[in-house]
Amino acid sequence: MKRFWFLIPLAAFLALTVMLAVGLKLDPREVPSPLIDKPAPKFALQRLDDAGKTIRLDDMRGKVWMLNVWASWCVACREEHPLLVEFARKRVVPLYGLNYKDQREDAKAWLARFGNPYDASLFDDEGRVGIDFGVYGVPETFVIDQNGVIRLKHIGPLTPDVIATKIEPLLKKLDA
């Protein structure tokens, strides 16, 4: 037994290496949201395209829907935008935008230029609803279920992989 003791430092070194390797792969920007499985915060915001109309959380009761936080100043939003347009074409669930800390005219021009995948966008120029949703890295995407509970939050631009492996399976589960 004693002659294997020299392996202990080696084992300790390997354990440390594995730990550090895992640490390298973790993204410190991905903060686990405490909002998962909690009721979505209440909101009442103007529509981006019509200041006279208000959209509330209660309007969404009874349906699974997605909320995508975006802004015309957000570079990563442009990156994910074609994916959202393609996703919206499938009409799986209603997709709403939260236009975060933006200028109304800029935002409308941005949608006109790159295409509008949203059923409607909520205009959150002061970013208060964004704060209630714990938004800190635009773009962010939420999946909210029939009971108004947040089931998924994705921080950063969507990728085909995220849609295929995280969002679509969850939507299937929620609809069933």
Binding site: P28, R29, V31, P32, S33, P34, L35, K101, E126, G127, R128, I131, D132, F133, G134, V135, Y136, G137
Partner: protein
């Protein structure tokens, strides 16, 4: 001509100083100094989510500015410090706290360093105690000449050859 250049240089320096002065960290809004001080004290304990190594009090990121505004508003509404911290953790989790709470998930964070120190100290103690019990000839002999050479800055750092000097070795206790 050199005077003109030196004057221009001084002017440039002054301009740079002015730029430095405006580039300082988030300036407080001095509407109500007491409220502002309390707001700063609370937000100095909170991590800015956008630039994660700054506090919400320090950061000029848009989100930090908004969160200071929200904090100010909550203070005006008479909310307690605990209520404001609860507001932040409800949205961003314990991650916003620079002093994480003691919970099962944070036990490693709190006690990990002490446990590592204890483990290292125990191993060191065991090794040292074992060594004191060993006979002197279990060690490689030291060589005074070689040690002197190593301290000599003029000497090039060549790999030390193990000196074999039985007389020196046996002379040690």
């Amino acid at each position: 001509m050199p005077e003109v250049i030196s004057k221009a240089f001084v002017a440039l320096l002054l301009a740079l100083c002015a730029a430095q002065a405006t580039a300082k960290e988030a300036a407080p809004e001095a509407a109500d100094p007491a409220l502002e001080a309390r707001m700063t004290r609370i937000t100095a304990e909170l991590r800015c989510l956008v630039c994660q190594n700054q506090t919400i009090a320090d950061s000029n990121a848009g989100l930090a500015v908004d969160l200071r505004r929200e904090t100010r508003e909550m203070l005006r509404q008479g909310k307690s410090d605990e209520e404001i911290v609860a507001y932040m953790t409800a949205r961003y989790g314990d991650f916003v706290l620079y002093r994480p709470p003691l919970k099962p998930t944070t036990a490693l964070l709190w006690f990990g360093p002490a446990a590592m120190l204890l483990l290292g100290g125990t191993v060191l103690l065991l090794v040292l105690r074992r060594r004191t019990r060993l006979a002197a000839d279990a060690f490689e002999p030291d060589d005074d000449e070689e040690a002197g050479e190593r301290n000599d800055p003029a000497a090039p750092t060549t790999p030390a050859t193990p000196a074999v000097d039985p007389a020196a070795a046996t002379a040690r206790p």
